[in-house]
Assembly symmetry: C2
Homo-oligomer: 464 residues x 2
Amino acid sequence: MSHEKFLDELISTLGADVAQRGADVPERYHTDWSGTPPQRPLALVRPRSTQEVSAALRLCTAHQVAVVPQGGLTGLAGAAVPSQGAIALSLERMNTIENTDTRAGLMQVQAGVTLQAVQEAAVAAGMVFGVDLGARGSCQIGGNVSTNAGGNGVLQHGMMREQVLGLEVVLADGTVLPMLRPMIKNNTGYDLKQFFIGAEGTLGVVTRVLLRLRPAPQATATTLVAMPDFDAALAVLARMQSHFGNGVAAYELMWDSFVQASLSWLQLGAPFAERHPLLALINMDGKNESQLQGDVQQVLEEAMEAGEVVDAIVAQSVAQAQALWKLREAPAELNNNMHPAINFDVSLPQADIGRFAQACEAAFSARWPQKHALYFGHVGDGNLHVSVDGKTVGGTPEAIEAVEAELYRLVGEFQGSVSAEHGIGLHKKPYLQASRTQEELAAMRAIKQALDPLGLMNPGKVFD
Amino acid sequence: MSHEKFLDELISTLGADVAQRGADVPERYHTDWSGTPPQRPLALVRPRSTQEVSAALRLCTAHQVAVVPQGGLTGLAGAAVPSQGAIALSLERMNTIENTDTRAGLMQVQAGVTLQAVQEAAVAAGMVFGVDLGARGSCQIGGNVSTNAGGNGVLQHGMMREQVLGLEVVLADGTVLPMLRPMIKNNTGYDLKQFFIGAEGTLGVVTRVLLRLRPAPQATATTLVAMPDFDAALAVLARMQSHFGNGVAAYELMWDSFVQASLSWLQLGAPFAERHPLLALINMDGKNESQLQGDVQQVLEEAMEAGEVVDAIVAQSVAQAQALWKLREAPAELNNNMHPAINFDVSLPQADIGRFAQACEAAFSARWPQKHALYFGHVGDGNLHVSVDGKTVGGTPEAIEAVEAELYRLVGEFQGSVSAEHGIGLHKKPYLQASRTQEELAAMRAIKQALDPLGLMNPGKVFD
């Protein structure tokens, strides 16, 4: 059997420590956090170097075996779940922080370093790294690159794409592209590294990343504000940005349904005496703790006079700031409280998010009067999350599909995107064409064909 | 003759107002600011709409006629100079600002709008646009996208790539890719628009651009500082960024040779009583004029105590700030004072720029003891410009080539880039491989083949 010959060659080339047959592969490599049914890979390869990645891919090309790159396996779209007959290629052993240059604000790492390790190394060097998200302890930088990760820092520092100054990538045929020159400006032909950021492993394997670090803030402030409607929320964001500029580090909007779920699931005390249509958690960076606190107070007073803010709490300590941020942690409890949670991660023109949420509520309520839906998100970036409790809409696969179809129909109507930060993977493939024209999809396929002519890199992910 | 048939069809399809035969094409469309010998195009097409661009390209594909896209024709690398037998496609009539959304900070424009028109419209709307460069009155947004333009604002706002939220592009076969959805986060397959930014018209024609606008600063300050060496210059930049964060809007470093040339060519008075190895022009943004001035004074005093700064002038008025910035305007006089000026636009790891300039001086002096070379640049971005007076190295084409070869050899040694912000075009093709491996060039060619299989888009530019 040709797979046997391939596996023999793989193990003899890389060694039994690096390459394992499928039967020996632990279950944790069979799926990711997306809830996709597990699939045993043909083999698991855990290389320790770019050379070993290249050797593995050369063999896969010679035997026409598909490759599914794996990072921390925390993806929510299923891009890292093994495909039938494919090997899983885990970057977990390539976890060295190779170089930190605080003067230039750069850090070069292997792709298997966790996001948290990068964050901690940046702080130890007196700087910060611009991307942060809930899975920080498990997710890996290579996966953050491959999904163009978003999270809590996008408003201030941009997506993962804007933190990447260089990449080393191995193509399906084993070719190594060393795009690691540490330059901010480098207009020498196509900026090839851009092609691999957000490609979800379908064009090549990211093996090294040259990251930009950001200066550490000297002071931070946190406030929780209550607002009457979405237009007020946008006005407050604009007011904050006008006053603090790029110092507005996070602006997380929570509709009342979400706040009530958080209070109940996490057993928190209500922050305000009254319920309000919308709350926002806002972080600001500044130079001086007391001046920043004073400025925040003043801007909030102006916003209250303008009727944009109806109530507000300014954290007086780190502990109080952390307590306020607890309100935002309901997402970690979704799967314990919704059966199942039908989760969405959509992008919209920022100004339309309020109307979109209303349109979803109206459409859902018309069809499923008992539905329980939460709305929250990184509104500063135009990113809305919606979670619907499956059992309140009937709980069947058909009902779940109907909820998805309804929401994605509205996304198309609002000229939005079906994936803001989680990617397409397996789960959102049916809805990709709601955000991309046939012409765009044809151009993507042409690029795929150019860089992976045998179609071996993460097949069946993003598009067929 | 088949060209006659093509021209007849082109004119009958688009009208004689939009399409002109080569014999009728004014000389200004025959070359650009790069000094490349003029070439008469087969025809000039000046479409008024994306549909007309698409119709022209469909005909070009049907007749296998090449297309050279043209913007403001201010490029310094020759990318917009007509190729033999190609039509020139000028975007100059597509110069409408279609939509400005200050709440979302977005502006949608046609590709032929000048940079200055965009800047002025942004200011009129109470915001600013992040890219600025000397050719602002003539260069067009489509050209800024296609060259991934740099300039004076990169330190604060990034390159053109970071100002682009969406693009509409027409491929060689006339296919329109409408990648204009106004979202910051949109992880739905490959981020196709990235492929066309900096591609110098070799993959398609940019017809519309969705731009990000930035909040206008409330106060600005300008200072000219004198420093003993390059390490001091980096320390001052770090100190400024640590204090003012992203408020450091420009940091332009000038070596003494450049300063002396500016003083002489522009007949300016010396800013300081003594000459100093390095001067930097620094702009800072802030919220309050008097507070900002005070902060700048304080940071400069700290830098002087630390020995990083030996003298400094803080502008007390807009007029004085403009007078200080005059010192940076020698580049406009290069062609009047050097015969010819051999100009370089290289990128280097920021920390190595000082050593690189020393290495150039040493290498040039060893071979051409009479050489006159100026060093200056956007050091905050790792971008150094060097101009060598051709007549001081012999003035022959061989001598010019030898100077280029010597400098680009050093760029390779320092792991730099042969083009920071001007692009490759025609002029830097021979040196592209100093900044890119054969594997990278092969991947670029594969992408080119995928999106332009007949090789009709701007042939012979960037690579052959």
